[in-house]
Symmetry: C2
DNA sequence: TTAATTTTTGAAAGCGCTTTCAAATGATAA
DNA sequence: TTATCATTTGAAAGCGCTTTCAAAAATTAA
């Protein structure tokens, strides 16, 4: 059962160093050691010193599972993203993890591949691991996922969109308004046929919102988005190229396209170049995200800057506050900016 | 103390559902329920059915911390990357997480920002959380970090380079050989002055290896890399631009540059374009990574394809095997490919 | 100085599971 | 049928911590 003072020097790595070992060495009770770890102020100064000293010399590392079992909190939080191999969610995850680490939380991460069932699996697994809180992207998911979380009674937050009618706490921005604003701008340049290159809409409420925003803008013009001016494909440059080809081969092609995400826009721009379609001369291209490439590529991309890092950070802060007993105000919507660069302009004369 | 048969229906969410509750409902002992969870074959068929049924109706979710405490394994593994907000490590993380999830492991992730002290912090925290295994990038780190891991006796694996002299298990590829190969190619085109645009070398053995590879190639030519043809900056497009400006303003600028990572190369290409430096006419540009952009940008980038996903997957497999008692063979070096595209060519005539 | 409070401490009872060990059951051989 | 062995089962003892509760020590008031 652990080590005591003398044997410590003799057999340094004989089994795990426990809190009890520390207690022995420091000549206090285990309870006191525990207090030193959790509420140091509640213990006498010299005893605290002795304990810290003992911890030091023994190289004691608390046993998380034991703590979690006894205290009913693990100091672990979960985050499930649709994908984690891209800059977009990567930035959110990075900020989330940083903020959590600063508050001494560890983060478990998983990617759902835009699949609600897979997401549910991950949530279940995380719940089982004992997470204290959870971050999820968007609001649309398998109902059972919400039930699982509810049954465990842990706080959670959804990100990358606003709550809408829903009751779930949300940290994000108004995709719909942003899309409308962007489309309004395109209309204001004189465009009349504005196409949409969207990611897969199913299970992706952010994409749905953006499409709705475009439609709102159309409606304001007393127009409607032509069916053949909306194309839907998975996110990716290749897909962007393909979609551009498709949409430009319509009988009456659009003079501008709104892309649901930046890779799509890059694909569109590359493919346009390959077909001698001038951007923005013949076709305006706009998108969302404003990643590091947007301002570098030629033509520089007109795009809506989305608060990727802020989302991760604010979501973490919200959860941390909730966990520490503070009931934080519902997070305010984050801001987006329309960044007008070179890829958009007036429609061609003809 | 939990719920029993009748009260279950009356008060569904009154406290946590425990294994004991399941045992009651199924009319077996807790031990048997535990066996159903862990080694189902060791329990009688109809009893197993009763238990599963009970689990179902009660919505029982095992308590991870309790399991970890009793069984001495948490089914959690850790991964700390220098950064997680980029496609490169993102792809590794993604593959790692996927593979781990398939083996029913949960992954804790953190980013160290290329800072060994921060990395040590994260490792400590993860160890405390009770991870069963750990993945780390590169070999160079605070010695104490290795000691911590050693003291806990958990398996670990390092990635993104080969083990070299070191005794640490490593899943990766030979950065040095790849860099040499790339530089050889540039020399074979007739270049004589090949510059290097490197990431920060300190604490980044991958970057150091790549630089060494370039030097190897120089040595083969009986030449040496001029000091002012090596520039070192953090990874980023902006930095790439800056470095290109710097290196091209030397008295005798290089006719080719090897970039330590792709963002640097894009920066270089963009900045070259801005200064009417033709790529590859006036300057050849080559890099590492082969991300989604490399083949799309103009000029298409000559680059070394690195096995990002494979790394994550193989690292996970290695750890999973080790954890399941199989002593896996030390992982073999992964392959890289030199992908020659448009950004490299013969040096200018003059 | 002593009594009344407040603060600090330790003993002990769990937290929810796994796992040993021995008992009970079932299968097989004689 | 009975003896022998293999398979299933349950009782009980932890795993390493936290936390209540009551006792002890330190502080303040009287």
């Amino acid at each position: 059962m652990g080590i005591d003072l003398e044997s410590a020097s003799k057999s340094p790595s004989l089994g795990r160093v426990t809190l009890e070992d520390v207690a022995h060495l420091a000549k206090v009770s285990p309870a006191t050691v525990s207090r030193c770890l959790n509420r140091p102020d509640s213990v006498n100064l010299d005893k605290r010193a002795r304990v810290n000293q003992a911890i030091q010399t023994l190289g004691y590392v608390p046993h998380g599972a034991a703590r979690a079992l006894a205290s009913k909190q693990s100091r672990m939080v979960g985050a499930v993203f649709p994908a984690i191999d891209n800059t977009l969610f990567g930035a959110s995850l990075d900020a989330f993890q940083r903020t959590m680490a600063d508050a001494d939380y560890t983060v478990i991460v998983a990617s759902s591949d835009y699949d609600p069932l897979r997401e549910k699996q991950h949530v279940r697994r995380m719940l089982q691991s004992g997470i204290d809180a959870l971050m999820l992207v968007g609001l649309v998911r398998d109902e059972e996922t919400y039930e699982l979380i509810g049954a465990h009674g842990i706080p959670y937050v959804t990100v990358w969109r606003l709550a809408g009618q829903q009751v779930h706490p949300a940290v994000g921005f108004d995709n719909r308004a942003a899309a409308q604003h962007l489309t309004d701008y395109l209309f204001s340049l004189g465009h009349e046929r504005i196409g949409v290159l969207s990611g897969i809409l199913e299970y992706n409420d952010r994409a749905q919102d953006r499409l709705a925003g475009v439609r709102d803008s159309y409606a304001k013009q007393g127009r409607t988005l032509a069916d053949n001016h909306l194309i839907e494909r998975p996110f990716g440059v290749e897909q962007g190229r393909e979609m551009l080809r498709l949409i430009m081969s319509q009988e009456t092609p659009p003079t501008a396209v709104v892309c649901g995400a930046e890779p799509l826009a890059y694909g569109a721009i590359f493919e346009a170049a390959a077909h001698n379609i001038s951007v923005p001369g013949d076709l305006s291209v706009a998108a969302f995200d404003d990643t590091w490439l947007a301002g570098q590529i030629s033509p520089k991309l007109t795009t809506v800057r989305t608060p990727n890092m802020e989302i991760g950070e604010e979501a973490a802060k919200y959860l941390i506050a909730t966990l520490s007993g503070v009931q934080p105000p519902l997070p305010r919507p984050l801001e987006t900016d329309l960044i007008i660069r070179e890829s958009t302009g007036r429609p061609p004369a003809g």
